[in-house]
């Protein structure tokens, strides 16, 4: 038992760091640090495009995919190092909906044509996807979805409403769960469809989240005609694919590296924040809170390593893997909440990005980002299976209750 990286892993780490320093250099990081990034916007900044192109050139764009579609043959430790280093440098990531959520479904259950058509575009981030799962009546109870797809010749005619669809307003395509059968349990009769967002009948209505962030949408589908060729896998088996996908990506789910970055930045800012002739960092009570969270974070990081190590040994992740999402989101929310405390009265100040662009920030330049992170972060314990649902699952699957 030891925590040391092996020599070959250290070499890999050096390689990764060199790549990042070249393609996502310190000055770019700094420049982007104080930009609220919770809005989904059409198009990318040129530096982001360059980084993604570099990833593709190097063959590192989609480390978890099968090698034949551009993935790597990295060991779990190497993947862990990659995640850690890119998070530390706050590198841009490929849009998760295509690369992390849809792609595994496609390369596992998609047709040859679907794979060839979509996977390269996803890998190069030239096609942006959104996820059509939730519906107004089907939130935590996802399988209660009611959007209907009725076969008409070699097309499905889709009618219904999707909600909380992140990035639907900037997406080229949507992958979507639709009801194609009504018999049996509600989990049966669900199919997995790929829908071109330019198809007639689709209306995207923006939903503004706390802080005015526009990231999610309501998507209305009225007689939207989708070629049968865009059905993934078998009809009525969509639930299986979606569920497989929900448990697919364990690495990084706890957001440890992101939280570590946030914690370190909070310490830096507290050290620079003057209070009563000293700094906020001199305040024992503030330090106590930071260190209490730091211990929680170290525990979570170690839990993640334990899971990683099991996977590395070829075993299945043990029960401790189930806590990663719950504890990860609780912790990031606690950090986000404490973080705005650092700014004192300036935590109240909330000029929007345009205002900042024109006149510079009010208070600390990181203030807006911190506030938006806190507000947007409340979603982390709701979306993607609320923490209450996660606990139901652990209770049943792990504790056998």
């Amino acid at each position: 038992m030891d925590l040391k990286l092996r020599e070959e892993d250290l070499a890999f780490q050096r390689e990764v760091r060199e790549f990042i320093d070249r393609h996502w250099p310190e000055e770019v990081r700094k420049a982007r640090r104080n930009v609220g990034r919770f809005e989904e916007t059409k198009g990318e900044a040129p530096e982001v495009r360059r980084f993604i192109d570099a990833l593709n050139e190097r063959g590192w764009a989609v480390p978890n995919w099968p090698a034949e579609w551009g993935g790597t043959d990295w060991t779990p430790t190497e993947k862990y190092i990659w995640d850690k280093e890119t998070a530390r440098a706050e590198c841009p990531q490929l849009s998760a909906f295509g690369a992390r959520m849809l792609a595994p479904v496609l390369y596992t259950w998609g047709t040859a044509q679907q794979k060839e058509r979509f996977l390269p575009l996803i890998r190069e981030q030239k096609m942006i996807w959104c996820q059509g799962y939730s519906e107004p009546g089907a939130g935590s109870d996802l399988a209660a979805l009611a959007t209907r797809a009725v076969r008409d010749g070699d097309e499905f005619v889709v009618n219904g409403t999707k909600i909380w669809t992140t990035g639907a307003h900037v997406a080229d395509w949507m992958f979507c769960l639709v009801r194609t059968g009504t018999e049996g349990k509600k989990q049966e009769g669900i199919s997995f469809l790929l829908i071109d967002m330019t198809t007639p009948g689709i209306t995207v209505n923006p939903i503004h989240l706390l802080g005015g962030i526009h990231s999610v949408n309501e998507v209305e589908l009225a007689d939207v005609r989708v070629p049968v060729a865009n059905l993934v896998g078998e009809e009525n088996k969509g639930w299986t694919y979606a569920k497989g996908l929900l448990t697919h990506e364990r690495t990084g789910i706890a957001g440890v590296a992101r939280s570590e970055v946030m914690l370190a930045r909070m310490k830096d800012i507290a050290r620079e924040t003057g209070v009563d002739g000293g700094s906020l960092w001199d305040d024992a009570e503030f330090r106590r809170k930071v260190h209490a969270l730091e211990i929680d974070l170290e525990a979570l990081a170690m839990t993640e390593l334990r899971v990683l190590s099991q996977v590395e040994q070829g075993g299945a992740p043990g029960p401790e893997s189930s806590i990663l999402k719950i504890r990860g989101t609780e912790l990031s929310q606690a950090l986000q909440t404490l973080q705005i405390d650092v700014f004192g009265y300036y935590g109240l100040a909330y000029p929007d990005q345009t205002l900042i662009d024109n006149e510079g920030p009010v208070g600390h330049p990181y203030g807006l980002t911190a506030m938006q992170a806190m507000l947007y972060g409340r979603a982390s314990t709701i979306f993607g299976g609320s923490n209450e649902i996660q606990k139901n699952i652990i209770s049943k699957a792990v504790l056998g209750l």
Partner: protein
């Protein structure tokens, strides 16, 4: 020992309650916030007509002679309606200084305008380096001729954008954090050398950074005695803490009840989510936090009415601690239990959450007031 309201108090409470119910639903509030000032001048005139702007002032000054209980009753309803009109900066803060220490001339020039709704104001006290320390001032007021010259940077002045005049704390002597040497000045918003940067705050109010560059004021701009303002500032801020604390209590009541209602209607897994025991107990916790906050609200108001002394200060800080903790919990859980809907700007839930979060910061957060509370032990 008596928890009942006098007839006059009941009338006041009913009047604000009615206004919130009939004239300030969430849609109307949204429209009001979209106005240029970020609130409605028409509403403000109505407040004047209803007598609300006169509440804390003595009958001699043309007011209603209300105390902490009256302020509590009003602010609790303001919290329930998430009212954005600048009652706190104008009536509680600026008005609080004028009624306690304003000269006859100052009262005539400014206080009457507050009471009749013709003048808005704000208190410029915080500074970028000062955090919650009211005495940490780098803004200076130097004697010049028969008056003073003010220079400095005042941060996050709530109500600043629409203020006709400001009350400004500045140092007339002493070092940066000395208790002595702090003075208060009345400064007209249009004074030469005064500039502002206005912006919205997270909870939908408006604030300003106020820059003072050699702003000249007369001797008659000084409120109270030169260099002796800190105890007065502390006293007025304690009023303001009571006020925002009561707002928080009102907001918590709305939130816990709205959550209970939502949970009865929202169906998941074939039943209303209010049937899930974990959510039931969570809502019981929200209810208990609200009730405990309300209890300390009563205590803080009653202690203040007994006289401004250590017992009152301790009660105020205790109340602020409770409201900071409870408000965070109730706000966060209301969002959580409303699911995605709680995250939207469209529903009111998130706006109450934001206001509660901000109230924790205003005038010192939980840590600050827990220490202050302990200092009276």
């Amino acid at each position: 020992m008596d928890f009942s309201l006098s007839d006059e108090q009941s009338l006041l409470k009913d009047s604000v309650e009615r206004f919130v119910q009939n004239d300030y639903d969430f849609d109307k509030r949204r429209k009001v916030m979209a106005e240029e000032d970020g609130f409605s001048r028409k509403n403000w005139q109505q407040f004047a007509e209803l007598g609300w702007l006169a509440i804390p002032f003595s009958e001699e000054d043309g007011g209603f002679g209300g105390g902490a209980i009256e302020l509590m009753l009003l602010m609790e309803q303001i919290g329930r309606g998430l009212i954005v009109e600048p009652y706190l900066p104008t009536v509680v803060l600026a008005g609080g200084f004028l009624r306690r220490a304003g000269s006859a001339a100052q009262k005539e020039q400014y206080l009457s305008g507050i009471i009749d709704g013709s003048k808005l104001s704000a208190f410029a006290f915080a500074e970028p380096q000062g955090r919650f320390n009211l005495a940490d001032l780098t803004t200076t007021a130097k004697a010049k001729g028969d008056g003073y010259v003010l220079s400095g940077h005042k941060a996050v002045v709530l109500g600043g954008p629409s203020a006709d005049f400001l009350v400004v704390s500045a140092r007339t002597s002493g070092d940066q954090r000395d208790a002595d040497g702090i003075s208060l000045f009345l400064v007209d918003a249009g004074a030469k050398g005064l500039s502002r940067r206005d912006y919205p705050t997270v909870d939908g109010l408006r604030a300003s950074e106020v820059m003072l560059e050699n702003v000249e004021v007369g001797k008659d701009a000084l409120i109270g005695a030169e260099g002796k303002a800190l105890p007065l500032i502390e006293e007025v801020i304690d009023d303001a803490i009571l006020a925002v604390g009561c707002e928080a209590v009102g907001a918590m009541e709305v939130l816990y009840k709205a959550t209970v209602e939502y949970s009865k209607q929202r169906v998941q897994f074939g039943q209303p989510i209010g049937k899930f025991q974990v959510l039931q107990h969570r809502m019981v916790d929200m209810f208990m936090e609200y009730e405990q906050s309300k209890s300390l609200m009563f205590m803080a108001a009653m202690r203040l009415d007994e006289g401004y002394n250590d017992a009152a200060k301790k009660a105020i800080s205790g109340f602020k601690v409770q409201v900071g903790k409870s408000g965070r919990f109730v706000g966060q859980q209301a969002v959580q239990l409303h699911g995605g809907m709680g995250m939207t700007e469209e529903l009111s839930v998130g706006h109450y959450f934001k206001r509660l979060t901000m109230i924790d910061t205003l005038f010192g957060n939980v840590d600050f007031h827990l220490k202050r509370y302990g200092s009276f032990d």
